[in-house]
């Protein structure tokens, strides 16, 4: 054996020292991690695709579910998500500029751009919190189940509740009390639980019966049928007095879940339950990545401030966290397309 080994020409063989990929160990390991993380996200998004293709009814439309802006109300389809996407792209750009500054050993540049990246990350997290809150609370009038079993989206203006006058004591609220705080919230809860028997009189969770004093009555403009029943067909539009009457029937039937506001783990007003489940899981998992990205960026930022990487002679640490940060942006590009657009 030894004699054979001696005859081997070692000049073209790999003698250690150099990397066949001409890259450092840390960077390659970061890439390997990102590939495995990408596979996780692909699995989630493709599972979402599977459910959508298998589903036989009408899947909710991004433009209709996500159409609100902070302070401005409804009627701005997709604008908010577009702003979130833009925000993430910009913070990706500041990150790549930090990496570029690092390659020139420009410590001030790295500090500035990395700081802006962190700010961008916080803005994105805040936006996502607002989006979730909006998704969970839902629209003003919710979605109703009509008498024939069909499901309808309700368009119009929601009521404004001045206060609740307690007519009969419950375990918490006593007769004669006037509840102003969260009045609309209690009213919507009672609607969902089927605790409204005649318009304007509700039973609260503690058993108290209350009269609802409206500052402004609800105005029903249109019912859009989203799931067919025995009478109404998918896509039908019911307008005017008929719509108001059907809405009243559904909300005063005394049955729970005839009307649904927003979304939780059991039901949601937007469409099939898998829609809300995937929304919570995919955007939540992505949001968690953004959060950990911000934390990692902050740790590295302190390293930059202390001059750790400058003394080391290279800013590869910034480059490696940059890879992770860009990856978060990359995932969002796909979530944006397959959750909001398609």
């Amino acid at each position: 054996m030894a004699e054979h080994a001696l005859n081997i020409d070692t000049t073209p063989s790999w003698g250690g020292q150099v990397s066949p990929f001409k890259t450092s160990y840390g960077k390659m390991m970061m890439w390997f991690f990102l590939v495995s993380d990408a596979l996780t996200f692909s699995g989630l998004l493709i599972a979402y695709g599977f459910i959508r293709h298998a589903y036989t009814g009408e899947w909710p439309m991004g433009e209709e579910v996500f159409h609100s802006l902070p302070f401005l109300g409804h009627g701005y389809p997709l604008i908010y998500v577009a702003l979130m996407t833009f925000l993430l792209i910009i913070s990706s750009v500041t990150m790549v500029l930090a990496v570029e500054a690092g390659h020139r050993m420009d410590r001030k540049g790295v500090t500035k751009w990395l700081f802006l990246t962190i700010i961008g990350g916080f803005f994105f997290l805040g936006s996502q919190a607002w989006e979730w809150s909006h998704f969970i609370h839902g629209s003003e009038l919710g979605r109703v189940q009509l008498q024939d079993g069909s499901l309808a989206f309700v368009h119009g203006h929601g009521p404004e509740v001045k206060n609740l006058e307690i007519l009969k004591s419950g375990s918490k609220y006593k007769e004669g009390a006037v509840v102003e705080h969260h009045a609309l919230h209690y009213y919507n809860d009672a609607l969902e639980a089927g605790k409204v028997t005649t318009v304007g009189t509700i039973t609260l969770k503690d058993g108290a019966v209350a009269r609802v004093n409206f500052a402004k009555e609800a105005h029903i403009e249109e019912l859009q049928i989203r799931e067919a029943g025995s009478k109404y067909e998918l896509g039908a539009h019911i307008k005017g007095a008929e719509a108001a009457e059907l809405y009243k029937q559904a909300t005063t039937a005394g049955q729970a879940n005839r009307i649904v506001f927003g979304a939780n783990m059991q039901r949601n007003e937007y469409g099939p339950q898998q829609f809300a489940q995937f929304f919570f899981f995919i955007t939540g998992f992505h949001g968690f990545h953004v959060f950990s990205g911000v934390v990692i960026n902050i740790i590295i930022f302190f390293g930059v401030l202390r001059g750790v990487y400058h003394n080391r002679g290279h800013y590869e640490m910034v480059e490696k966290t940059g890879l992770y940060w860009h990856f978060v942006d990359l995932v969002w590009v796909f979530v944006f397309t397959f959750f909001y657009l398609v």
Binding site: F21, V93, L97, E100, E319
Partner: protein, 122 residues
């Protein structure tokens, strides 16, 4: 901290001021491009809502979205993540196994999803 047992590739990544200018120019170009693509996607989404356009139009739009998304993803990976500047072998090592798996899973699950759909419709 120079080491003699391994080559420190991290130290070779430095570039000059002029080269930096060129790189930044490319970064700004990609920024504008990505923003424009996003704006176009959202614009199309607002003007042509899914339920209000013909099925063929929607199919075209959908594939348009997918192509635009892949273009965006390509720019992020190749320029922002510098994979375009890495050695060809590394680029392939990262991209090929992932693509094979993702394409296969997409194909098999969407195909399966459609079959389930047909059975449920009966």
């Amino acid at each position: 901290m120079e080491r003699d047992d391994v080559i420190e590739y991290s130290l070779e990544a430095h570039h000059s001021e002029e080269h930096g200018k060129k790189i930044r120019k490319k970064i700004y170009f990609v920024t504008v491009l990505l923003s424009l693509i996003t704006a176009v996607e959202v614009g199309v989404g607002i003007v042509f809502p899914k339920h209000y356009v013909a099925e063929f139009t929607w199919e075209t739009i959908k594939w348009g979205y997918i192509v635009l998304t892949l273009i965006k993803a390509g720019y992020i990976v190749l320029v922002f993540m510098h994979l375009g500047d890495e050695k060809l072998e590394l680029r392939r090592l990262i991209l090929f196994p992932y693509m094979i798996f993702a394409l296969y899973l997409t194909y098999i699950l969407l195909f399966e999803g459609l079959q389930v759909h047909h059975i449920w419709m009966k």
